[in-house]
Symmetry: C2
Subunit: 359 residues, 2 copies
Amino acid sequence: MTPRSTIEDVAILANVSIATVSRYTSGQRSIVAPSTQERLKLAIDKLGYVPNAAARSLKTGRTRLIGVILADVSHAYWSALLGGIQAGCTELGFGVLIASGNNSAANQYDYLRTYLEHGAEGILFNPAAGDAQFVADWMQVRIPVIQLDRGSPGAALPVVAVDNTLGAMLATRHLLERGHSRIGVISWHPETLTNRIERLNGFLTTMYDAGLSVPDQNVALVDQQSGSAREALAAMMAQAEPPTAIFSTNMEISLESVRFFHEAGLRVPADVSIVGFDDPEWTSVVDPPLTAVATPTFRLGKLAAIRVGRAIRMGEPLRLHSSKLAPTLIERRSVAAPPKRNVNARRNQITESQSMVAI
Amino acid sequence: MTPRSTIEDVAILANVSIATVSRYTSGQRSIVAPSTQERLKLAIDKLGYVPNAAARSLKTGRTRLIGVILADVSHAYWSALLGGIQAGCTELGFGVLIASGNNSAANQYDYLRTYLEHGAEGILFNPAAGDAQFVADWMQVRIPVIQLDRGSPGAALPVVAVDNTLGAMLATRHLLERGHSRIGVISWHPETLTNRIERLNGFLTTMYDAGLSVPDQNVALVDQQSGSAREALAAMMAQAEPPTAIFSTNMEISLESVRFFHEAGLRVPADVSIVGFDDPEWTSVVDPPLTAVATPTFRLGKLAAIRVGRAIRMGEPLRLHSSKLAPTLIERRSVAAPPKRNVNARRNQITESQSMVAI
DNA sequence: CAGAATCCTGTAAACGCTTACATCCCGGTC
DNA sequence: GACCGGGATGTAAGCGTTTACAGGATTCTG
């Protein structure tokens, strides 16, 4: 393989100095004579010359690269976010470096370092469940940093996220309006990340404002691993007076809940209603189609990208101000009025009769 | 903001030459005296020194960066792929530059250029629906390039993809074994991308091998835009002898098909069976849970990343050999034996009776 | 104890570009 | 015709690394 051609090769072929080539390729075309431009174009095409970004940024100190660290790239939610980031960056002429932290602060730190080495001029990241040292490190980064989708509590860094409090309020009110008053909530352990805190608090506040109390048994804070939501749900529904509706604070939990209810022989929404949070395209095709709070994920990513992109362009530090995008409630068919009869009594009936037609 | 500190700052603080610092930071630690290493560590920590990758790669000609161009990052399928790529690259010590081509060859070409500028040492891409010029350009790239998930017909570049022919065969045989013989297929226009061609051909071949013919009316090749699959399906099912099963060659089409059947009052699988291709996590929670050919998407990404990563490491060009990963059929509940009665007759009955209990 | 071998460190050039400064040429002005 | 202004181009320095080469110190060998 022949080595990549350089600015000098072009200069020789076009019979000009490298300075002129540089002027042509680095956007200062207007001060190059038209006839020279033509020769340059020819030479560049012929050689397949592509400027060396490393050399350029070594000289200029700019890379036009933004680093993105997502908790887990391989889930649909994050990919929509990434789509938005991508769109925003392209619009502003930035390239995107991506890494997936796999929800581990240690990984994220490695990537941060790599990005800094590569000269990323700005960083977008989802904080992993908080590690104080880690956050402190972020704060020392000398370039604009935005927390995506959620914040690490106590980090003095701007956040671009959905308005989780509003979303939780929307979901809860919807249940309240349909006549529910015993509502259970399931969330991943919330202490570490602001989105979880806000969703839970939004729910609780709305309940209290409506004059309703939420007994501890109806609040399940579970680990982020499959199965734990199901167990929590089983316990919650085994009470003498189980909730008539569930607010599930994220999509994974919604999925698990639906599966659980299917298997437990409880009908959604006839026996129990569900409102979820997050709304991927396929929510509508689940059985039953899920009523959920939809978050403008793509816009979130784009907004974040544009905020850091602008800060970089202007050369100003990012304002600490956090942006919140409003979610909307999409009504589908997982919510109905609470059942008249006691669900547990009903459940026994159902499981019996169903087992007769089981496959 | 104070400027980033350089190797020289470290050298001065640690009272050594920059050469020694470089030896320490660039992995040649073993030839630096232990006592010097200690001083160096201290100085680096104190200054927060991070090597400048631009300078490094200007000198070495290596960047340890791989460029990835996906047709559309914001879909779940691609994000699983990206997760695999990410994992593979991390394992080999490469960073990932990402861009989304939005299925446009022109965009992809821009990104390709950007990557080349940034010195990507290898490229992973999904070809967009074929543009001859575009493919020719890819061929001239002097670094390892792999086509991901599908190939552009005629491009002499290796492909890492699922074995689509096998997948289609699996799906078709499954339907055959259940007693179907009138099977319809829906695919996006196949001529441009190998995965579509292979899936369609795999189906057709299996049918012929079974001694069955497939009338043209049962083959729908539709545009990749919402609604067109539905129309094609409506036409197909309106025949006097409509298919008793559908092989849907991708997930978008499966979703549209399920929706269509719901609305048309046809029961899946009692009236018509469906086998899909691609198997995201939520397939199991759709109504009904979809029998589908599952593709090892994550592994696909990882394998591709590792193939180019190794080629880069070894400094050898990539072998043209394509890798095919075997898919598996996941049986769920969208397939049953063909109905006894004519479906159209039955459909009329159903819609009548259902409209009485409509909500 | 001389000389060789080994270990550690320093000097300096080079990577490909941008850009301040210098130079040259040409037309316009008095 | 001398001068000036300005447009087009060239010269050269320097961005922060890596690395070939050289050199100094220490240890080993006979």
